[in-house]
Symmetry: T
Subunit: 157 residues, 12 copies
Amino acid sequence: MTVVKSPLSDSDQRVTGNALQSALVDLLDLSLVAKQAHWNLIGPRFRSVHLQLDEVVSNARAYADTVAERASALGINPDGRAATVAKTSGLPDFPSGWVRDTEVIEALVASFAAVIDRMRERVAATERPDPVTQDLFIGITAELEKEAWMFQAENAR
Amino acid sequence: MTVVKSPLSDSDQRVTGNALQSALVDLLDLSLVAKQAHWNLIGPRFRSVHLQLDEVVSNARAYADTVAERASALGINPDGRAATVAKTSGLPDFPSGWVRDTEVIEALVASFAAVIDRMRERVAATERPDPVTQDLFIGITAELEKEAWMFQAENAR
Amino acid sequence: MTVVKSPLSDSDQRVTGNALQSALVDLLDLSLVAKQAHWNLIGPRFRSVHLQLDEVVSNARAYADTVAERASALGINPDGRAATVAKTSGLPDFPSGWVRDTEVIEALVASFAAVIDRMRERVAATERPDPVTQDLFIGITAELEKEAWMFQAENAR
Amino acid sequence: MTVVKSPLSDSDQRVTGNALQSALVDLLDLSLVAKQAHWNLIGPRFRSVHLQLDEVVSNARAYADTVAERASALGINPDGRAATVAKTSGLPDFPSGWVRDTEVIEALVASFAAVIDRMRERVAATERPDPVTQDLFIGITAELEKEAWMFQAENAR
Amino acid sequence: MTVVKSPLSDSDQRVTGNALQSALVDLLDLSLVAKQAHWNLIGPRFRSVHLQLDEVVSNARAYADTVAERASALGINPDGRAATVAKTSGLPDFPSGWVRDTEVIEALVASFAAVIDRMRERVAATERPDPVTQDLFIGITAELEKEAWMFQAENAR
Amino acid sequence: MTVVKSPLSDSDQRVTGNALQSALVDLLDLSLVAKQAHWNLIGPRFRSVHLQLDEVVSNARAYADTVAERASALGINPDGRAATVAKTSGLPDFPSGWVRDTEVIEALVASFAAVIDRMRERVAATERPDPVTQDLFIGITAELEKEAWMFQAENAR
Amino acid sequence: MTVVKSPLSDSDQRVTGNALQSALVDLLDLSLVAKQAHWNLIGPRFRSVHLQLDEVVSNARAYADTVAERASALGINPDGRAATVAKTSGLPDFPSGWVRDTEVIEALVASFAAVIDRMRERVAATERPDPVTQDLFIGITAELEKEAWMFQAENAR
Amino acid sequence: MTVVKSPLSDSDQRVTGNALQSALVDLLDLSLVAKQAHWNLIGPRFRSVHLQLDEVVSNARAYADTVAERASALGINPDGRAATVAKTSGLPDFPSGWVRDTEVIEALVASFAAVIDRMRERVAATERPDPVTQDLFIGITAELEKEAWMFQAENAR
Amino acid sequence: MTVVKSPLSDSDQRVTGNALQSALVDLLDLSLVAKQAHWNLIGPRFRSVHLQLDEVVSNARAYADTVAERASALGINPDGRAATVAKTSGLPDFPSGWVRDTEVIEALVASFAAVIDRMRERVAATERPDPVTQDLFIGITAELEKEAWMFQAENAR
Amino acid sequence: MTVVKSPLSDSDQRVTGNALQSALVDLLDLSLVAKQAHWNLIGPRFRSVHLQLDEVVSNARAYADTVAERASALGINPDGRAATVAKTSGLPDFPSGWVRDTEVIEALVASFAAVIDRMRERVAATERPDPVTQDLFIGITAELEKEAWMFQAENAR
Amino acid sequence: MTVVKSPLSDSDQRVTGNALQSALVDLLDLSLVAKQAHWNLIGPRFRSVHLQLDEVVSNARAYADTVAERASALGINPDGRAATVAKTSGLPDFPSGWVRDTEVIEALVASFAAVIDRMRERVAATERPDPVTQDLFIGITAELEKEAWMFQAENAR
Amino acid sequence: MTVVKSPLSDSDQRVTGNALQSALVDLLDLSLVAKQAHWNLIGPRFRSVHLQLDEVVSNARAYADTVAERASALGINPDGRAATVAKTSGLPDFPSGWVRDTEVIEALVASFAAVIDRMRERVAATERPDPVTQDLFIGITAELEKEAWMFQAENAR
């Protein structure tokens, strides 16, 4: 069933679709991981990091929505169900139980590094097949690199 | 490591903790399922249901946060990571790909029925061990039953 | 035709439904009576009581809506039509024509007393059949008793 | 007791008073009927019509207040009590129990037709006795005819 | 110097201009008198009347502005200078020094009566020469009669 | 196909319909002309006039919407398509390319004069057939004459 | 009748009272003059000066209110009635009829100069008798001198 | 007369100018067509589509403004007059009279398809001559493709 | 003098009244202690804890007001005067002078522990005499335990 | 331990510190007394005075905060604990139990008189040692004298 | 010390870093120059240009912040200190003392021309090394060229 | 050229002008230094101090604007250009590159100390020549001393 007529050729659609689907999963997982940290965080920087993590959650959710709706607009079905996120996310695991603030920050630095790496690959991969999607990835990368800087600055010894 | 001194006895804390953890997972999964439907929905009622689903998402996220922070406040570690949600959610599966509006509404009716059933059990289970948590579950149940009514009314033939 | 599947047993649904329907009528009548007083009020305290009555109206309307939607959510049809309100309301009659501020305040004190009495009975009646509905009645009672206090304090000689 | 000195002659006041009182009753009944429909509505257009009906309620309440306060300003006592509304409203009856969206829309089309007819008579009747009141009726008629168009457009086959 | 080309004939412009100029003066004086009362008021109803008077001021200023700009739009120069207001206002005098709340209310009742009388004459006078200006006077009359009712209701013994 | 039952007789509907359709076209054209001027304006008063023109656009769009929805409410189909506007507008032509501020102001003065003239005719034409539509035209005329005054005042030498 | 017990000695109260009363009159007159200019202004800078004058009006009204309430707080009756303003204002006369923008700006420059001069005298006069009132005059002077600068800068040749 | 010094070479300015002018016309026509549909729409989905179309109008107007001001910023005169839109728009015709919701949605799907096609050509055409303008077109394309998806999803059978 | 007719029996009123009065004192003292800490805090976490304490103050004040007005609504006189607070508060003493952030956090953890303990006793004590008051205490306990968690999490070593 | 380096000499700091500390206590006590009156007030003016008292509370709290933070900024530890307020406040006692509106107003008039007297002494005492603190006291005095006027005006017989 | 791990290679980081640092300096200087003009402006267009310059300041500050935080996010230290701005800015000098509006506008036209030229070079220079930074420069260039157009249009003779 | 007529004598104007010009430079430099710290900050308190510094920037910019416009209002030309700031600022130098949070806080403590010292001298210097300017400096000093306290409290060991 063709619901949405894609403005892209089949192969361009396939490349762009893969990039969007994997970006969706990474961003949803980032939102879940940051919430997990938000709830289980302990240590002297609790309040400051608790608030900072909610901004990460809020941004990740908004970008996930934009990415998924971009997929739909290209005739590609986004898949953001829990099992899909659990199986295909590119983020490192996050521990259970209380986590100290220093460890939370290091975990977030690592998570951002992983997501940014993959996002820069998507920027490269979509340049020719769909500059509209590429522009969206560029905007997300800018925001992710800004948030990553803040956690690294906070982590600096 | 005892981070948060629970105001409850050990056994009350265990019962309440189980109820909170399973509620958290159900609510997070509800938010993911409703977003999945929001993106992959088709059919003449697209716009109306698309907007309605975002309200479900927004409520489910808010309640998940309240539930998780209640757990932390009782010295219990909430677990809202993707794998935990995928493995322990009480919601029925949601199909992949485009889904017609009639089917989306039926799926949501079924999802709400499952969550409400389990939430009413939690209301009963926590009455004695922690009336503060029970009150929180009562408030969530009221809202879920209201949303469930709307999907059922829309589904009436 | 079963439109909404009730989470309650038949007899619990009947008890809860009766409580919700009579609460709806009382609250709608309270909103109409307070508006009637708002328009026909005279006397030196005109402006202050005129404004106070509009807050009563606004609260009564909001609670009536909550109560009626709770009924629908339980598969019970709320009836808030004029004839039903006229026939089944538990409020004392309110006079026609201009009414002096002192009399308006006394009439409101009497109306609140009647509604609160019946609302406390509903709190008791729904405790077992549906704690979710009971919680809603508890919240409304708290607000009504607060408003009743203010009119009594203003009435004190 | 003459509380408010009317700027109109006795006969002009009588004509204008009758028009205002009957308009008040129609508008209050419209607000109650639309709320009744808002709560008992079923069918595929549930959400859209549910929201639309709340706008009808909100407008009808605001206009009823304006009309009643206009009566008071002319030294005429408005009567908006439930029994008066039940006895003297010009609206057709609205059924009890669940009502399908198609029937709700037809009922609203009929209700608006009745109210508009009577409102246009009031516009004619008050032109000479009180152009200030007429202007108020003209504004209400414009809004009612706009809402009536929307239900008719939705009802078109 | 013809700055603004009037859409009215010379005689219509003259009639309309006189009505607008006298309305402007009455409304500016009403704003000054109500402020005077706002500052010099004493008595048990101080706070309530103090706030009510500021609403009178705010409405009178807004209407004065509308009236003056309507004059300019018709090529007529509005004159709202202090000496013009002092010499040509239709309002009764307001006493100096502290004024009791009962007297303030009576003074306002009298002021509104005077302004409304003259405003109703302007409604009649402009009906044929300029229905656009008439409509503006009708709107102002409705508001003034509403405020006048409130002071009379507060004044009722 | 009778979609909307008109509250007017056939001949009254025809007269009112013609007035509404021509008003719609004039107002849409005014919004397009004012935007054209907004973009192509040059000269020392650039910023001030640039902002003033956007208020003209915003008002013209809002009135066009009101007029078109009034037509629909009377069972008359409004036509606001580009070709209809181009063919039937009552506004003078506006030049292409950069236009100096002095010329823009003169062009707007001329445009407003044309629209106001025709709007006053519509006020007269609809008085008997539909006072509700007339009242709407009166309100629009008041606003147009106010804006016209401001451009004339700015144009005064 | 002593209504308000002054915190000042009789002679300090007299000096402060005189300063407050004359400031009140100047500020009320400034608000009336600036409105007069706002309505009768013509010339190429119409829109910019029209808006600027409304800020003058709004500030002057706010300061007049502060000054009058300060008088009341000291047990002194402020007098802001039209005749008092007309007779005792320290502002130069403002012409009737249309006034060109250049002349309006010059008139405002002169008005501000007069008010500022007198306000600086009040700052000096109240320093010892009541530093609280003096502080209020200092704040008003700062604002008036800022507005005066803007008109002078606009007037610079 | 060179008013604005273009940062582009003559040939780059010509290519970019053509793309901007044709985009402006398409977007203005889209706004007029969507308003026409907004007013003449009938059928069961009336309210939902009526609201959706106003969002299309609002976006199209905002993008048209951005495009036209970008042209001016490059020293190119945008032309958005009615006749130019009527003659050079790339959109398919829209029928007169009442239009059923299903047909409106199909018409919008077709209109978006036409505009998107041409917009993607403009993205390609401006890449080299002016990446700043291209970026603007990329952003507009993303939004148009999102809106087009929604109408296609609603249209899916 | 019976001002407010209590809906409770005498003994239920006494029990509920004692619970409300002691809750009022604890909450007022909490607001004063948190402000004291807010002002005298020092150490590296100054800004973060300074802000957090103001949220404690703001919540404690709001809850104190709710508790006191609940007492009045039941015909019980709340006593929140400084001497009463000083004599009967259940909070541990707070030191004078500068206090380091680590000590402030420990003091708050201890204060919350004391208040929560006593609040849970009030929840138990009022369950039978007045479920409306109990519900209010449950809501306050939930919020206090949430705030207590945050300080404990921040305190975790 | 010198935490904050004072910009004042030791003796100036001592004088200023004493003034700030006693002002803090008076203002905190004023906020507690006004709340006590807000809750225990009875009589016909209940609603008006109830609202007025909450404004007193809100202002007193804001000023107390400003005063305490000014002390900290000068290296002086503010002490706002309950016992300190109870022991060192300059306000007259406020009775327990219900208090009639007339008595509440008299009590507030007396409280303001006491606070204002002491505040004017602080204005004098800090003029030389710290004009920055003096300016703060001047601003508070202006506001207190304004509120005191309103209660006196309401109290006038 | 490596604080932030750059996602770029060393040479790409160097090129991008140089572009960001010089952009930062230009934008900070633009904000200082526009403020200088905002304060020292004279002439008939004072008010309009005064307001326009504050929008330039506000945009320049926001872009400078974005540019500097982008540098930090790439591991490059931005330098926005006064001496650095004074020494390395690419803007022409701005005169001291009063400056006439015509000269201010010319100076701004020249400043924008200089900044835009350099910004377009940065767009070209960063295309390959970092498309994320390039996209940021493209957005800034669009805004600067829009502001530059407005000053040129105002400057047109 | 005399643009603005100063209300001060020549020598008073000179003293006041020097104080305003040096204050302007200090405040602009403070805003640049705080932004520099905002961007280059590292260490565990990153997020908290990053936000705190933006409040410093925002206050410093607002005060600089007030000071500069005060100069203009007195006929004195403020000079806030980069070179002037670089050459005449009274602030200590701020290092380049990453700066640890502890060092940033110490640097800010030192910067505030320097600015406050000079601001207190300006308060003394302007007391006689211009109390209006002095009052402005007093207000700025209060705010600077409050911010300085916070950094010192955060710095306390």
